[in-house]
Amino acid sequence: MSINKDEIKYLSLLSRMDIDKNEIKDIEEKLTKIIDFVDQLQTISTDNIAPMAHPLNQSQRLRIDEVTETNDRENIQKNAQQIEKGMYLVPKVID
């Protein structure tokens, strides 16, 4: 299996990554190598093996339902570019 330029453009859109035209060829080659590697894995028969959801053979620990966090807005919003009325500002998005 291989990957083509249109698929790379589509992926860059989905992942919101701005890929320069000059980079596409290089990325195509690198991604193709990764896909070739996955192709190798896929030649192995996994018919009788249950899919693995996580590399650690452990189960999820659960939290008790308690409020443990306090309001840290002031501190956290120091990292924001723009805030107003306690909200983060972003370019207008309307559906």
Binding site: Y10, A53, R63, E69, G86, K92, V93, I94
Partner: protein, 479 residues
């Protein structure tokens, strides 16, 4: 409208779970806080943070699953659903795809013809809610409030078994009732705690293959669900009958214009690239834990309804209404326990005047202005013939206004029913005397005039005469 079209609807209901904290963090999940005061580093997806699953969310999902006869997965996994939107801080939503916690189940509803319909439930999975974008009040910007981000949601996905807008509403109401019975969701639709998306398509009856569907987003009232689906079905029929084709897309319902329109979002066609979330290990659910929850389930609406019909001899439709909400059902049983009056009369009062009064003041039953024992006190006054049912309504209104108990109001307003035979006889005689021509007509066969006389007597006594006695004595005198 052509009736050759079969409508196929599936609903995805989002119920916010009534846990105190978020699904993966210890931030508060309560509604209405100042913007961004309940969004911690985990909710914001800061590097180095780790989501840890809330046990209550698991427990509540299991409660729901058991209540709808579903299978509970003893092994369940979480996945990342990837998309970009400003109110989704991490760039992905933690949700479930393979191995959701609740698989299968079903819900029975009554359609418009009163026939039972079984709606299949495909699955119910846990996920985190997104934040909120606020578009008003900012110049060329949107404000983002992430308090809601990470609030635990149960998404309940139905099979495409629903065949009309009214069935969709009936199904949604049933689920709404169940989640509140189970105490897993407050069901507050104004606050968005309970909302749904509808997948709608049409096809000719003769065709097996489903038509192309559209998805209607974020319907947050029963009325909007009904109107949005009705509108969308009409639109699809028009498009197809004009020779067009339905495009698979997401549409928003605009309640002001009563129409659906495509979302303007540039979001790519649902390419979410799900993969198992490496931050979360598989959830293993113990059989004993499931059994414990099973033992703690409350009596559910359908079973309660049957019991009400059986033990109180109520009409089926009344039992249905009374058991829709657990609070109303409990209130009914409390009143019933405290009064000797016929169980059906108690039901009539609750479904009629009492519910009307609540609705008028936009109150919930827990905020009711008349307690169960006060209402029972009023009904007892009818039972012991102190007042008639008609006067009782007047007393009820005064009680609702806070003028005191039934006893106090009856006393204060002098509303005690006249049951004394001789007193009623006097009034009857008077009325007969004052209306000679009507008496003549009555005796000549105009029997419907009896109502006229009763009316006159009630007018004389300001409604206080015992109606049975009035009828009895009138008939005796008018021979």
């Amino acid at each position: 409208m052509s009736s050759q079209w079969e409508v196929v609807i599936g609903l995805e209901i989002h119920a916010q779970l009534a846990a105190k904290s978020k699904i993966f963090s210890g931030a508060s999940s309560s509604y209405g806080g100042e913007p961004n005061t309940q969004a911690c580093l985990v909710d914001l997806g800061y590097p180095g943070t780790l989501p840890v699953l809330n046990q209550k969310a698991i427990e509540m999902a299991i409660r729901f699953g058991l209540a709808v006869g579903a299978e509970i997965s003893t092994r369940s996994i979480f996945a990342r659903k990837n998309y970009f939107y400003p109110d989704l801080p991490k760039g992905y939503q933690i949700s479930q795809l393979d191995l959701p916690i609740v698989v299968g189940g079903q819900m029975s509803i009554l359609n418009n013809d009163g026939e039972e319909r079984i709606i299949g439930i495909t699955r119910a999975h846990l996920e985190e809610d997104a934040g909120k974008s606020i578009h008003e009040g900012f110049d060329d910007s949107s404000g983002i409030d992430l308090n809601r981000a990470g609030t635990p949601l149960l998404e309940i996905v139905s099979e495409p078994d629903i065949s009309s807008a009214s069935e969709a509403v009936a199904y949604m109401k049933k689920i709404h009732s169940i989640v509140r019975y189970l105490g897993i969701c407050d069901g507050n639709m104004q606050e968005g705690s309970f909302r749904c998306d509808a997948n709608v398509s049409i096809k000719p009856f003769s065709q097996d293959k489903l038509g192309t569907r559209t998805e209607l987003k974020n319907l947050n009232s029963f009325k909007f669900v009904e109107k949005a689906i009705q509108h969308e079905v009409m639109r699809q029929i028009e498009v197809i009958e004009d020779g067009g084709e339905i495009i698979q897309e997401t549409r928003l319902y605009d309640s002001d214009l009563d129409e659906t329109r495509p979302m303007r979002s540039k979001e790519e066609a649902n390419d979410y690239r799900y993969f198992p979330d490496p931050d979360l290990l598989p959830v293993i659910i113990d059989k004993d834990f499931i059994n414990e929850i099973k033992d703690s389930l409350p009596e559910l609406p359908s079973i309660k309804k049957e019991r009400f019909i059986e033990s109180y001899k109520l009409k089926s439709t009344d039992a249905e209404v009374l058991t829709t909400s657990k609070q109303l059902a409990d209130f009914y049983e409390e009143v019933k326990k405290l009064t000797e009056i016929d169980a059906q009369i108690v039901a009539n009062w609750l479904i009629g005047d009492y519910t009307a009064a609540l609705n008028k003041d936009d109150l919930d039953i827990v905020d009711s202005k008349i307690s169960a024992s006060d209402l029972a006190g009023l009904l007892n006054k009818i039972a012991d013939q102190t007042i008639s049912g008609k006067i009782a309504k007047e007393v009820f209104d005064a009680m609702w206004k806070g003028e005191g108990s039934a006893e106090v109001i009856i006393e204060k307003k002098g509303l005690v029913q006249i049951t004394d035979d001789s007193e009623i006889e006097n009034i009857v005689n008077q009325v007969i005397e004052n209306n000679p021509s009507q008496v003549k007509d009555y005796l000549e066969g105009k029997s419907q005039l009896l109502g006229y006389f009763v009316g006159q007597i009630m007018k004389e006594t300001k409604g206080k005469a015992n109606p049975q006695k009035v009828n009895e004595i009138l008939k005796k005198k008018l021979i």
